[in-house]
Symmetry: C2
């Protein structure tokens, strides 16, 4: 570095900082990036600016190489490394432990609240007080829903819905605000218990995943600053990669706690949630879910001794369909093929309708909190009416002689609900409707019950569940999709089994399992993870080939129509999710075609006033640093500096009176904690920093804090090829350099938004009219197929 | 492009091509790259030069962007794309079908050959002709081993061993020659059947994986050219990514066929085999294994009707330990912890010893084919002696009264072998030794057999298996490791169960399963995939928490001592496997520190003679193309051209009389097939191309065939950071550009070898003495831990 720099090299006003030098033709042709961005923020919940996943923005030592971090890395001792390793494993253990306890508590609470409700109403029914029973049933459901929607709407609106799309987006690098705050966690747990107990047709698996991710995120950032719950010794995770790893483990733990499916949980996190995956992470997620599985196993031991109230001996959600000798032959295959195909079609219709209903609900919900709560209450009342009213349509059936359970079941939930029937008779529709979803699934999956249900009852149940679950998801309570889809699919499968009747040897319980698989495959579009989750739920490995077949078919069929339900929800929420594959038209465009300006560049030694001005007038998160004469012979790209680091430097007032490079002793005033990634939403803002006039005229040497080796691509590279680098390495900023050196050392910065199809098609509408785009519109499935090549 | 270039711009001799210009200080300091390379080739089987996995070297349209490919991509019609998609899925289906048929045939053959052998010897034993029985047993084993080792040594030495390390290395980008040839496939199938039937303590799962990968590779390249078995319509896979995908699916199918574990197969391919993984690949692998599972299920239906000879009703390898109510409690956990810890230690000892024995065997095998075969025969004779001799040590035990099987078993394999015992008695050691490994595992895993075996018998069996399997793996026959480890682990677990005795409620069959899990975890170090494979083998999901616990512990313990068995084998074979993580000292070195010269560079329009000279005198696979004045104002990096493409151009004689750029019409003489990736080992060689003196004086315009947008890194980037890009994107060549532009436009090329620790530590021995290296040597486990951070 040179030692003396004349003042003249620093321009006076920031507005024209280096733009004359960096005037690049394309910048004028395109509207500024901020305008483009706004179109993604169609729901106000998303803040892209604070987004913080990808390691290059984070303080990952491997990706940000500046002198300061290098110094800090060299000074790390063995003890710090041991502390780091130990804490990371310790946290995984704690996440597993807490999530399993919460999952258990969750189930316990739901079974007891909902169970109590059903016992009271059943007792009234037994006393023939039908109207009173209806009123108690409806009002308790309404009360629970009201409470759940109130706390959700008032305390943490982020807790509404499943949470899986939000976590998935976070793991992809999109950070919606407050999704991992302590209040979201609280509302998610309590709200989910109340909403599920209120007999709404919603699930608890999605909220469990969000809960697990929340716990992981809060522990990973060392507690919640806002509520004073912080642990200093947890603060070793200074970068996003570690936090992302923990959140992945947390979501795996969530599925495990919900379904008691440890292997399914790991695979779910791998297949559906994670955008970046390393084998070390597989190992860590496996550890976490193993802890959950073992703790749950121990807790169930407690329940088996009858100490858990109405939370029965079944032990969490687990539909044991072990029938020692399930046998199936070639002639059973055609019906299963048909089941899979129709299941796939139903799944894609489900996704389509759910998406439409969500858009409608968004429209209602945007009007205000009052509207949200009224909507939730209406759905609750409707649901109660259906659940209580529809069983009256079914005729009473006489109890089978050799039933394994008491018939009719009185008091507790069971296979044979008495409802309005005389003694010795049961109401088959009530056995399904007038029960928790878990019990309904258990009934549907159970074997040797082929004659328990009437064909019409099953059809009514299927149609009602299908539509109720679509209309229930979007209301302002924590609500999952797994269980409703499973119960709907089970009804569908059993109905198909009844239609096929004696043409197949398979029992109807098995058809119900396969029906669930087909609807899950058709709407969630997972493969291995769904397969393992269903196996772990039903505890019968002999089903494996059939389940694989059904999933294969239903996913293939449904993929021809639309996308994964979570992707649709993410899209409707406006998350800029970065896909792995490149769209075909991205091969025709170069990165130079999409970078938009104006580009803000800093000099290696920059005036404080300029930095403050640029930070206040733009929302960019990264700025190229260029050394100009006399610092170098010609303009040279020195590197990339992050907004967060600039703000830290401004806050610490690391200023120089003259534009001279600072020596290594300047590091003394900083600790690596200063540059550590802040907790979500806790980053400092430029507006909070107050500087005097005098300070504004001083200088900062940015060199030691600039990432000197950012990844770069040449401007002629195709967008598709740049996307591979951007996505695989997990970048936030990708510098574009000119093909021919000599003039401008940097052409632009690519960020996530530059890869969004909406952005590209806005800049280059002709791409949409191109052959490839046309092809996709004609054959919606072909686009997907091409991507999966 | 300019139109006229004076001749003078092309130097006369290739030797000094651009070196004066590109003289870079570091080049003189280091020995040339080729010298470094030789150290990896410590076994002659590895040819790095032809290595062909990573897409940038391959013709992946997304990564190689030259004018020709762009043109070709634009001209691809819908029909070609449909053909491509259809063929790819079709191939997955065919791979699944063929692998399942082969797997079935494999099991059928082994069960019948080995079964016949045991029936004959048992009959002789029954007639008290002990010596004759021994001779028949030993000679049939010797004959089978001799045949297997002869065909392996003479026809395809590549088929020796498990094949998993080779396939894993291929998927990482290291292509050992002939591992996927048709003769290797043949020897692998036949050799494996013979060797396993010869009662050697080796497995069939590893060879099945290699077989599956082989089939996939051969189909992916459109058949075997050498034997004239080619299918033109399969030739749509012109790049390595497609072939790699197919090989991954093939290896998943292999595990599925071996263990009837479709989900385990997918996970095995994901966790152990694949170096790059996309969700599309998960879907495709799932499809393949589903086909295998369904076909196997159908074939077993055939066998259940008794049409498969001695291949019994058990139906492939599947140890059904379904005991409806396995219950375990907190007090069972401590013994299982101990089991896991000791299992982990045993696993790492196993790896250590196997590695040592392999080195010893390598020494013997290198002496010649005769030595190889003698070694194999010696091992066979030893094994026969042990199997036949050791049961004599055991005393006869009286048959249990309520045994579910006939006791003693006569003729067929079964739980109670009569051996030399009087009627009404059985020999417990013979039930284990004098059986196929599959039957021994079945016996060990079976429940309600706690009193069947004597404690000492189990110890003898465990110790014998442990050492026999270590000494059997390295001989020149196709040999897997899975089954020996499972059987050894089962003996170990059962022995522990016997020692614990009444202190635990768990039955000994369960202990055997957990013992297998612990030894597998300790030597193979997989987590989720092993867990699922064991579950699918034993068909009991209730074991899940225990198996997870055992695997967790044994892997953690074993990781503290040494690495995964397959990694050790790969290392001893000298494969330059590229790890995901960076070693700590890589953070201290920049890429500039490791690139070694001399760098060979071509001009955009180059003299044919120069190209031929450079291709003949170097083994580099990629060459930077630089435009010099007068083509450009200053030297500009145009891109990177591949050796294979240069050879194609030379072969097609695309020469110019004057150094003028060619127009787009020049593409007419090429089709994309010319540049398609050749089948393994079928690439053209520069030596085969004959050019006249006149042609040598002509020119070639390299621009249209040069990848104009290679990925680049700046010379000051740390090696660790460059490795992330190199590994994640899957590169073959990474261009290093100077920090300050102006002089040389390219500093060097990074290849896989530049990231090999041996290479780096050779160049910078001080790194080894550094703090980090020292730390690793002191605490071998810490290095691994740091990497997994």
């Amino acid at each position: 570095m040179s030692t003396e720099i004349p003042n003249a090299s620093v321009p006076a006003t920031a507005a024209v900082l280096y733009e004359p030098l960096l005037q690049y033709q394309r910048q004028e042709q395109q509207p500024p990036l901020e305008l483009q961005r706004s179109q993604f923020n169609n729901t106000s919940q998303v803040a892209i600016v604070g987004s913080n996943l990808c390691p290059i923005e984070s303080l990952d030592y491997e990706l940000i190489e500046n002198d300061f971090f290098k110094q800090d890395w060299r000074s790390r001792g063995k003890i710090q490394i041991f502390q780091y390793i130990f804490t990371k494993w310790m946290l995984c253990f704690l996440i597993g432990l807490i999530v399993s306890l919460l999952g258990f508590f969750n189930n316990l609470a739901i079974e007891n609240i909902a169970g109590k409700k059903f016992v009271i109403t059943s007792d009234m029914m037994l006393a023939r007080k039908y109207m009173a029973a209806f009123l108690v049933f409806t009002s308790s459901n309404l009360g629970l829903t009201l409470f759940a929607s109130l706390i959700t709407a008032l305390i943490a609106p982020e807790a509404a819905g499943s949470g899986i799309p939000e976590v998935k987006a976070y793991l992809n690098g999109v950070d919606a605000p407050a999704i991992f705050s302590l209040r979201t966690l609280f509302v998610k747990i309590v709200g989910s218990i109340c909403a599920v107990s209120a007999s709404l047709n919603i699930g608890k698996a999605g909220p469990m995943v969000h809960t697990g991710a929340c716990i992981a995120a809060i522990m990973g950032q060392g507690g919640s600053k806002k509520y004073g719950l912080t642990w200093k010794w947890l603060r070793v995770f200074k970068n996003d990669r570690d936090r992302r790893d923990l959140v992945t483990c947390g979501s795996a733990a969530g599925i495990t706690a919900a379904f008691r499916a440890p292997v399914g949980g790991v695979l779910f996190a791998l297949e559906e949630m994670a955008s970046w995956w390393r084998s070390a992470l597989l190992w860590r997620a496996y550890f976490t879910t193993a802890v959950v599985a073992i703790v749950l196993r121990a807790l169930i031991d407690v329940c088996l001794r009858g100490k858990c109230g109405l939370f029965g001996k079944g032990g969490l959600i687990m539909y044991d369909v072990t029938s020692a000798n399930i046998s199936y032959h070639l002639k059973d295959v055609p019906p299963i093929l048909v089941l899979g195909i129709i299941g796939g079609i139903l799944g894609s219709i489900y996704n389509f309708l759910l998406n439409k209903v969500l858009r409608l609900y968004n429209f209602i919900n945007e009007k205000g909190i009052g509207y949200k709560i009224i909507l939730a209450c209406c759905i609750s009342i409707f649901t109660s009416c259906f659940l209580f009213g529809l069983p009256w349509l079914a005729s009473c059936r006489s109890c089978p002689s050799g039933a394994s359970e008491p018939c009719p079941t009185i008091g507790r939930s069971g296979n044979y609900k008495k409802f309005q029937c005389p003694p010795g008779y049961y109401n088959d529709l009530a056995s399904l409707f007038f029960n928790t979803n878990d019990d309904a699934i258990k009934n549907l999956f159970s074997k040797d019950t082929d004659s328990e249900f009437h064909r019409l009852s099953m059809l009514i149940f299927f149609v009602t569940c299908f539509f109720l679950s679509i209309f229930s998801y979007g209301i302002v309570v924590p609500a999952g999709l797994f269980v409703p889809v499973i119960v709907t699919g089970a009804a569908y499968g059993r109905f198909v089994g009844m239609l096929i009747g004696s043409h197949s040897n398979l029992n109807h319980g098995l058809f119900a399992v396969l029906g669930s698989a087909s609807l899950l495959g058709g709407s969630m579009r997972m493969t291995v993870s769904l397969c393992v989750i269903i196996l772990e739920l039903t505890n019968n490995l002999l089903l494996l080939p059939l389940i694989m077949l059904v999933l294969l078919i239903s996913k293939s069929v449904a993929d021809a129509f639309n996308g994964n339900i979570y992707d649709l929800i993410m899209k409707s929420k406006g998350f800029p999710y970065l896909e792995t594959h490149a769209e075909p038209y991205m091969r025709q465009l170069t990165v130079g075609d999409v970078v938009t300006g104006p580009l803000r560049i800093f000099n290696g030694i920059e005036k404080v006033g300029n930095i403050v001005h640029v930070l206040k007038t733009t929302e960019h998160n990264g700025f190229p640093v260029v050394d100009e004469p006399p610092l170098s012979e010609s303009p040279v790209l020195f590197g990339l500096i992050l907004r967060a680091h600039l703000i830290t430097l401004l806050k610490k007032k690391a200023f120089l009176r003259t534009p001279t490079p600072i020596g290594p002793d300047a590091f003394v005033q900083f600790s690596s904690d200063d540059f550590a990634k802040k907790g979500l939403g806790n980053g400092d803002k430029i507006e909070d920093i107050e500087l005097s006039e005098e300070e504004m005229e001083m200088f900062m040497d940015l060199h030691p804090f600039t990432n000197g080796t950012p990844y770069t691509v040449v401007e002629t590279m195709s967008l598709a090829k740049a996307l591979i680098l951007f996505r695989e390495v997990g970048l936030r900023h990708l510098l574009v350099v000119p093909k021919v050196p000599g003039g401008v050392p940097v052409v632009g910065i690519l960020t996530r938004h530059d890869f969004m199809p909406e952005h590209i098609l806005h800049l280059h509408p002709s791409s949409a009219r191109g052959r490839w785009k046309r092809l996709r519109f004609q054959f919606p499935s072909l686009g997907r197929l091409i991507r999966e090549l």
